[in-house]
Amino acid sequence: MGCGRVGSAVAGRLDREGHEVIVIDIDPSQFHRLPADFHGQKLAGSGFDHRLLLSAGIEQADAFLALTHGDNRNVLASQIAKHLYGVERVVTRLYDPFRAELFQRLGLRTFSPTDVGAELAYSALASE
Protein backbone atom coordinates (compact mmCIF):
# COMPACT_ATOMS: atom_id res chain seq x y z
CA MET A 1 0.00 0.00 0.00
CA GLY A 2 1.51 3.29 -1.18
CA CYS A 3 3.27 3.50 -4.52
CA GLY A 4 5.68 6.34 -3.81
CA ARG A 5 9.43 6.03 -4.23
CA VAL A 6 9.82 3.45 -1.51
CA GLY A 7 6.65 1.48 -2.26
CA SER A 8 7.35 1.23 -5.97
CA ALA A 9 10.96 0.19 -5.39
CA VAL A 10 10.00 -2.56 -2.93
CA ALA A 11 7.16 -3.76 -5.16
CA GLY A 12 9.48 -3.90 -8.17
CA ARG A 13 12.06 -5.85 -6.23
CA LEU A 14 9.58 -8.38 -4.84
CA ASP A 15 8.09 -8.79 -8.31
CA ARG A 16 11.54 -9.51 -9.80
CA GLU A 17 12.09 -12.10 -7.10
CA GLY A 18 9.02 -13.91 -8.38
CA HIS A 19 6.46 -13.01 -5.70
CA GLU A 20 2.88 -12.26 -6.54
CA VAL A 21 2.59 -8.55 -5.79
CA ILE A 22 -0.43 -6.23 -5.68
CA VAL A 23 0.18 -2.50 -5.39
CA ILE A 24 -2.49 -0.20 -3.96
CA ASP A 25 -2.39 3.57 -4.22
CA ILE A 26 -5.12 6.15 -3.86
CA ASP A 27 -3.55 8.06 -6.77
CA PRO A 28 -3.21 5.86 -9.89
CA SER A 29 -0.75 8.35 -11.47
CA GLN A 30 1.80 7.02 -8.95
CA PHE A 31 1.92 3.66 -10.72
CA HIS A 32 4.30 5.16 -13.32
CA ARG A 33 7.04 4.75 -10.72
CA LEU A 34 6.87 0.97 -11.06
CA PRO A 35 9.44 -0.67 -13.33
CA ALA A 36 8.27 -1.15 -16.95
CA ASP A 37 8.41 -4.94 -16.60
CA PHE A 38 6.30 -5.06 -13.42
CA HIS A 39 3.97 -8.08 -13.60
CA GLY A 40 1.82 -7.40 -10.56
CA GLN A 41 -1.64 -5.99 -10.25
CA LYS A 42 -2.22 -2.27 -9.65
CA LEU A 43 -5.28 -1.19 -7.71
CA ALA A 44 -6.37 2.41 -7.35
CA GLY A 45 -8.01 3.09 -4.00
CA SER A 46 -7.55 3.31 -0.29
CA GLY A 47 -5.59 0.66 1.55
CA PHE A 48 -8.07 0.59 4.38
CA ASP A 49 -11.11 0.20 2.18
CA HIS A 50 -12.26 -3.25 3.24
CA ARG A 51 -13.86 -3.98 -0.12
CA LEU A 52 -10.70 -3.13 -2.00
CA LEU A 53 -8.58 -5.20 0.38
CA LEU A 54 -10.85 -8.21 -0.06
CA SER A 55 -10.79 -7.86 -3.84
CA ALA A 56 -6.99 -7.77 -3.59
CA GLY A 57 -7.16 -11.12 -1.80
CA ILE A 58 -6.00 -9.84 1.58
CA GLU A 59 -7.24 -13.00 3.27
CA GLN A 60 -4.73 -15.10 1.34
CA ALA A 61 -1.85 -12.62 1.57
CA ASP A 62 1.36 -13.69 3.28
CA ALA A 63 2.55 -10.16 3.82
CA PHE A 64 1.26 -6.58 3.83
CA LEU A 65 3.40 -3.45 3.65
CA ALA A 66 1.98 -0.03 4.52
CA LEU A 67 4.29 2.57 2.96
CA THR A 68 2.23 5.72 2.48
CA HIS A 69 3.34 9.06 3.87
CA GLY A 70 0.66 9.02 6.55
CA ASP A 71 1.70 7.34 9.79
CA ASN A 72 -1.84 6.91 11.03
CA ARG A 73 -3.11 5.63 7.72
CA ASN A 74 -0.31 3.10 7.72
CA VAL A 75 -1.16 1.98 11.25
CA LEU A 76 -4.88 1.63 10.55
CA ALA A 77 -4.34 -0.33 7.33
CA SER A 78 -1.68 -2.51 8.97
CA GLN A 79 -3.85 -3.37 11.95
CA ILE A 80 -6.80 -4.14 9.68
CA ALA A 81 -4.56 -6.48 7.66
CA LYS A 82 -3.10 -8.14 10.73
CA HIS A 83 -6.04 -8.37 13.10
CA LEU A 84 -9.08 -8.54 10.83
CA TYR A 85 -7.64 -10.50 7.92
CA GLY A 86 -4.93 -12.49 9.66
CA VAL A 87 -1.96 -11.41 7.54
CA GLU A 88 1.09 -12.75 9.29
CA ARG A 89 3.85 -10.35 8.28
CA VAL A 90 2.88 -6.72 8.37
CA VAL A 91 5.45 -4.01 7.73
CA THR A 92 4.59 -0.43 8.66
CA ARG A 93 6.42 2.77 7.88
CA LEU A 94 6.16 5.37 10.63
CA TYR A 95 7.98 8.69 10.38
CA ASP A 96 7.50 9.24 14.10
CA PRO A 97 10.15 7.12 15.90
CA PHE A 98 8.05 6.98 19.08
CA ARG A 99 5.07 5.51 17.30
CA ALA A 100 7.40 3.17 15.41
CA GLU A 101 8.64 1.86 18.76
CA LEU A 102 5.14 1.60 20.20
CA PHE A 103 3.61 -0.30 17.30
CA GLN A 104 6.62 -2.59 17.06
CA ARG A 105 5.77 -3.54 20.62
CA LEU A 106 2.14 -4.05 19.55
CA GLY A 107 3.06 -6.60 16.91
CA LEU A 108 3.74 -4.69 13.69
CA ARG A 109 7.14 -4.76 11.98
CA THR A 110 7.78 -1.04 11.96
CA PHE A 111 10.61 1.12 10.72
CA SER A 112 11.14 4.83 10.93
CA PRO A 113 12.76 6.66 7.98
CA THR A 114 13.43 9.47 10.45
CA ASP A 115 15.68 7.29 12.58
CA VAL A 116 17.33 5.75 9.54
CA GLY A 117 17.84 9.18 7.93
CA ALA A 118 19.30 10.69 11.08
CA GLU A 119 21.67 7.77 11.39
CA LEU A 120 22.80 8.10 7.77
CA ALA A 121 23.23 11.85 8.05
CA TYR A 122 25.33 11.41 11.15
CA SER A 123 27.53 8.71 9.62
CA ALA A 124 27.97 10.76 6.43
CA LEU A 125 29.22 13.64 8.54
CA ALA A 126 31.46 11.46 10.68
CA SER A 127 33.04 9.53 7.80
CA GLU A 128 36.28 10.88 6.36
Binding site: D71, L76, Q79, I80, L84, L102, L106
Partner: protein, 233 residues
Amino acid sequence: MYIIVVGGGAVGSGLARELIASPDHEVVLIEESGARANELRAELGEMVVHGDGTEVVVLGAAGAGRADLLIAVTADDGRNLVACEVGKHWFHIARTIARVDDQRNEGLFRMLGIDATVSAAAAVLAQLETSLPEHTVVPLMRLQGSGLEVVDLHVQEGSDAAGKAIRDLQLPRQTVISLVIGLDGAPRIPSGDTVLQNGDELIAVIAQGAESELRRLFATPLAPESDAVERGG
Protein backbone atom coordinates in the same frame (compact mmCIF):
# COMPACT_ATOMS: atom_id res chain seq x y z
CA MET B 1 -11.16 13.76 36.01
CA TYR B 2 -8.39 14.80 33.63
CA ILE B 3 -9.70 14.42 30.07
CA ILE B 4 -7.95 14.83 26.73
CA VAL B 5 -10.10 15.40 23.66
CA VAL B 6 -8.38 14.88 20.30
CA GLY B 7 -9.98 16.73 17.39
CA GLY B 8 -11.52 20.19 17.56
CA GLY B 9 -14.22 19.86 14.94
CA ALA B 10 -17.90 20.26 15.69
CA VAL B 11 -17.95 17.05 17.76
CA GLY B 12 -14.72 17.64 19.70
CA SER B 13 -15.34 21.29 20.51
CA GLY B 14 -18.96 20.62 21.48
CA LEU B 15 -17.80 17.84 23.76
CA ALA B 16 -15.09 20.03 25.32
CA ARG B 17 -17.68 22.74 26.03
CA GLU B 18 -19.91 20.18 27.77
CA LEU B 19 -17.06 18.72 29.79
CA ILE B 20 -15.64 22.00 31.10
CA ALA B 21 -19.09 22.92 32.37
CA SER B 22 -18.45 20.39 35.13
CA PRO B 23 -16.11 21.62 37.88
CA ASP B 24 -14.89 18.03 38.37
CA HIS B 25 -13.19 17.90 35.01
CA GLU B 26 -9.95 19.29 33.73
CA VAL B 27 -10.03 19.25 29.95
CA VAL B 28 -7.45 19.66 27.19
CA LEU B 29 -8.55 19.89 23.56
CA ILE B 30 -5.95 19.07 20.90
CA GLU B 31 -6.54 20.45 17.41
CA GLU B 32 -4.20 19.95 14.47
CA SER B 33 -5.11 22.91 12.29
CA GLY B 34 -3.45 26.12 13.51
CA ALA B 35 -6.24 28.36 12.28
CA ARG B 36 -8.94 26.24 13.91
CA ALA B 37 -6.91 25.98 17.14
CA ASN B 38 -6.64 29.81 17.31
CA GLU B 39 -10.36 30.13 16.76
CA LEU B 40 -11.05 27.65 19.55
CA ARG B 41 -8.52 29.26 21.88
CA ALA B 42 -10.26 32.60 21.50
CA GLU B 43 -13.43 30.96 22.78
CA LEU B 44 -12.21 28.30 25.21
CA GLY B 45 -8.88 29.70 26.35
CA GLU B 46 -5.67 27.93 27.30
CA MET B 47 -7.20 24.46 27.36
CA VAL B 48 -6.79 24.35 23.56
CA VAL B 49 -3.51 22.85 22.37
CA HIS B 50 -2.36 23.14 18.77
CA GLY B 51 -0.73 19.95 17.50
CA ASP B 52 -1.11 16.44 16.15
CA GLY B 53 -2.95 14.52 18.84
CA THR B 54 -1.61 11.19 17.61
CA GLU B 55 1.98 12.16 18.41
CA VAL B 56 3.63 11.00 21.58
CA VAL B 57 5.35 14.38 22.08
CA VAL B 58 2.13 16.37 21.67
CA LEU B 59 0.11 14.08 23.92
CA GLY B 60 2.88 14.13 26.49
CA ALA B 61 2.92 17.94 26.53
CA ALA B 62 -0.87 17.90 26.88
CA GLY B 63 -0.47 15.92 30.10
CA ALA B 64 -1.37 12.46 28.82
CA GLY B 65 0.83 11.01 31.56
CA ARG B 66 -1.74 11.96 34.17
CA ALA B 67 -4.91 11.77 32.07
CA ASP B 68 -7.80 9.54 33.16
CA LEU B 69 -9.63 9.56 29.86
CA LEU B 70 -8.81 10.19 26.22
CA ILE B 71 -11.53 10.78 23.65
CA ALA B 72 -10.54 10.87 19.97
CA VAL B 73 -13.20 12.36 17.74
CA THR B 74 -11.48 13.55 14.56
CA ALA B 75 -13.14 12.71 11.24
CA ASP B 76 -10.42 10.16 10.49
CA ASP B 77 -10.65 6.59 11.83
CA GLY B 78 -6.88 6.09 11.56
CA ARG B 79 -6.13 9.16 13.64
CA ASN B 80 -8.68 8.22 16.27
CA LEU B 81 -7.35 4.70 16.52
CA VAL B 82 -3.73 5.79 16.81
CA ALA B 83 -4.48 8.55 19.34
CA CYS B 84 -6.25 5.98 21.54
CA GLU B 85 -3.54 3.36 21.16
CA VAL B 86 -0.79 5.85 21.98
CA GLY B 87 -2.84 7.04 24.95
CA LYS B 88 -3.49 3.53 26.16
CA HIS B 89 -0.18 1.80 25.55
CA TRP B 90 2.33 4.63 25.83
CA PHE B 91 0.75 6.76 28.53
CA HIS B 92 -1.38 4.05 30.18
CA ILE B 93 -4.53 6.16 30.18
CA ALA B 94 -7.17 4.02 31.87
CA ARG B 95 -10.01 4.68 29.45
CA THR B 96 -10.02 5.56 25.76
CA ILE B 97 -12.99 6.30 23.54
CA ALA B 98 -12.82 6.60 19.75
CA ARG B 99 -15.16 7.86 17.11
CA VAL B 100 -15.42 5.35 14.28
CA ASP B 101 -16.88 6.36 10.94
CA ASP B 102 -16.42 3.12 9.03
CA GLN B 103 -18.52 0.63 10.97
CA ARG B 104 -16.39 -2.25 9.70
CA ASN B 105 -13.56 -0.90 11.84
CA GLU B 106 -15.56 -1.08 15.04
CA GLY B 107 -14.58 -4.68 15.81
CA LEU B 108 -10.93 -3.88 15.17
CA PHE B 109 -10.99 -0.96 17.57
CA ARG B 110 -12.44 -3.09 20.30
CA MET B 111 -10.02 -5.94 19.56
CA LEU B 112 -7.19 -3.46 20.02
CA GLY B 113 -8.37 -2.46 23.47
CA ILE B 114 -10.22 0.78 22.77
CA ASP B 115 -12.75 0.87 25.61
CA ALA B 116 -15.68 2.33 23.72
CA THR B 117 -16.51 3.43 20.23
CA VAL B 118 -19.06 5.93 19.04
CA SER B 119 -20.32 6.18 15.51
CA ALA B 120 -21.52 9.50 14.17
CA ALA B 121 -23.33 7.76 11.32
CA ALA B 122 -25.24 5.51 13.70
CA ALA B 123 -26.20 8.46 15.91
CA VAL B 124 -27.44 10.53 12.99
CA LEU B 125 -29.38 7.55 11.72
CA ALA B 126 -31.03 7.02 15.10
CA GLN B 127 -32.01 10.68 15.29
CA LEU B 128 -33.43 10.59 11.81
CA GLU B 129 -35.42 7.49 12.66
CA THR B 130 -37.06 9.16 15.66
CA SER B 131 -38.14 11.97 13.36
CA LEU B 132 -39.90 9.64 10.95
CA PRO B 133 -43.64 9.48 11.67
CA GLU B 134 -43.91 5.71 11.24
CA HIS B 135 -40.94 4.65 13.33
CA THR B 136 -41.38 1.53 15.44
CA VAL B 137 -37.92 0.60 16.67
CA VAL B 138 -35.36 3.27 17.46
CA PRO B 139 -31.95 2.21 18.76
CA LEU B 140 -31.01 4.31 21.80
CA MET B 141 -27.82 2.75 23.07
CA ARG B 142 -25.56 -0.18 22.40
CA LEU B 143 -24.41 -2.10 25.46
CA GLN B 144 -20.93 -3.00 24.41
CA GLY B 145 -19.65 -6.45 25.10
CA SER B 146 -23.01 -8.04 25.86
CA GLY B 147 -24.46 -7.93 22.35
CA LEU B 148 -27.51 -6.14 23.72
CA GLU B 149 -28.98 -2.76 22.98
CA VAL B 150 -31.58 -0.45 24.42
CA VAL B 151 -34.38 0.57 22.05
CA ASP B 152 -37.48 2.66 22.00
CA LEU B 153 -40.55 0.82 20.62
CA HIS B 154 -43.86 2.22 19.50
CA VAL B 155 -47.01 0.14 19.46
CA GLN B 156 -48.80 0.95 16.23
CA GLU B 157 -52.44 0.61 15.38
CA GLY B 158 -53.46 -2.81 14.16
CA SER B 159 -50.07 -4.32 14.96
CA ASP B 160 -49.69 -7.80 16.46
CA ALA B 161 -48.72 -6.29 19.78
CA ALA B 162 -51.65 -3.87 20.15
CA GLY B 163 -54.23 -5.15 22.61
CA LYS B 164 -52.11 -8.12 23.73
CA ALA B 165 -50.62 -8.89 27.12
CA ILE B 166 -46.82 -8.91 27.11
CA ARG B 167 -46.71 -12.59 28.09
CA ASP B 168 -48.67 -13.48 24.94
CA LEU B 169 -46.24 -11.79 22.57
CA GLN B 170 -43.75 -13.89 20.63
CA LEU B 171 -40.82 -11.66 21.53
CA PRO B 172 -37.37 -12.40 20.15
CA ARG B 173 -34.97 -14.06 22.59
CA GLN B 174 -33.39 -11.82 25.24
CA THR B 175 -36.03 -9.11 24.83
CA VAL B 176 -36.90 -7.42 28.13
CA ILE B 177 -39.53 -4.70 28.11
CA SER B 178 -38.47 -2.51 31.00
CA LEU B 179 -40.80 0.44 30.79
CA VAL B 180 -44.18 1.21 29.27
CA ILE B 181 -45.21 4.83 28.72
CA GLY B 182 -48.93 5.16 27.97
CA LEU B 183 -50.66 7.91 26.07
CA ASP B 184 -51.11 9.71 29.41
CA GLY B 185 -47.33 10.09 29.51
CA ALA B 186 -46.94 8.13 32.77
CA PRO B 187 -44.11 5.56 32.86
CA ARG B 188 -44.94 2.16 34.36
CA ILE B 189 -42.89 -0.95 35.00
CA PRO B 190 -44.80 -3.67 33.15
CA SER B 191 -45.56 -7.22 34.20
CA GLY B 192 -46.46 -10.14 31.96
CA ASP B 193 -50.11 -9.18 32.38
CA THR B 194 -49.67 -5.64 31.11
CA VAL B 195 -51.78 -5.20 28.00
CA LEU B 196 -50.19 -3.01 25.35
CA GLN B 197 -52.29 -0.33 23.72
CA ASN B 198 -52.05 1.57 20.47
CA GLY B 199 -49.64 4.45 20.88
CA ASP B 200 -47.80 3.01 23.90
CA GLU B 201 -44.10 3.72 23.97
CA LEU B 202 -41.80 1.05 25.37
CA ILE B 203 -38.20 1.09 26.47
CA ALA B 204 -36.69 -2.35 26.00
CA VAL B 205 -33.42 -4.21 26.09
CA ILE B 206 -33.05 -6.45 23.04
CA ALA B 207 -30.43 -8.60 21.35
CA GLN B 208 -28.57 -6.68 18.65
CA GLY B 209 -30.07 -7.65 15.32
CA ALA B 210 -33.57 -8.34 16.65
CA GLU B 211 -34.94 -5.05 15.27
CA SER B 212 -36.64 -6.42 12.19
CA GLU B 213 -38.44 -9.13 14.14
CA LEU B 214 -39.69 -6.51 16.60
CA ARG B 215 -40.71 -4.23 13.78
CA ARG B 216 -43.00 -7.00 12.48
CA LEU B 217 -44.64 -7.28 15.90
CA PHE B 218 -45.10 -3.58 16.60
CA ALA B 219 -45.74 -2.02 13.19
CA THR B 220 -49.09 -1.67 11.48
CA PRO B 221 -49.16 -4.57 9.01
CA LEU B 222 -48.91 -3.54 5.38
CA ALA B 223 -52.20 -3.61 3.53
CA PRO B 224 -52.74 -7.00 1.87
CA GLU B 225 -51.65 -6.95 -1.73
CA SER B 226 -54.97 -6.92 -3.55
CA ASP B 227 -53.75 -4.87 -6.44
CA ALA B 228 -53.17 -7.18 -9.37
CA VAL B 229 -51.10 -4.66 -11.28
CA GLU B 230 -48.71 -4.22 -8.39
CA ARG B 231 -48.41 -7.94 -7.89
CA GLY B 232 -47.91 -8.59 -11.57
CA GLY B 233 -45.34 -5.81 -11.96
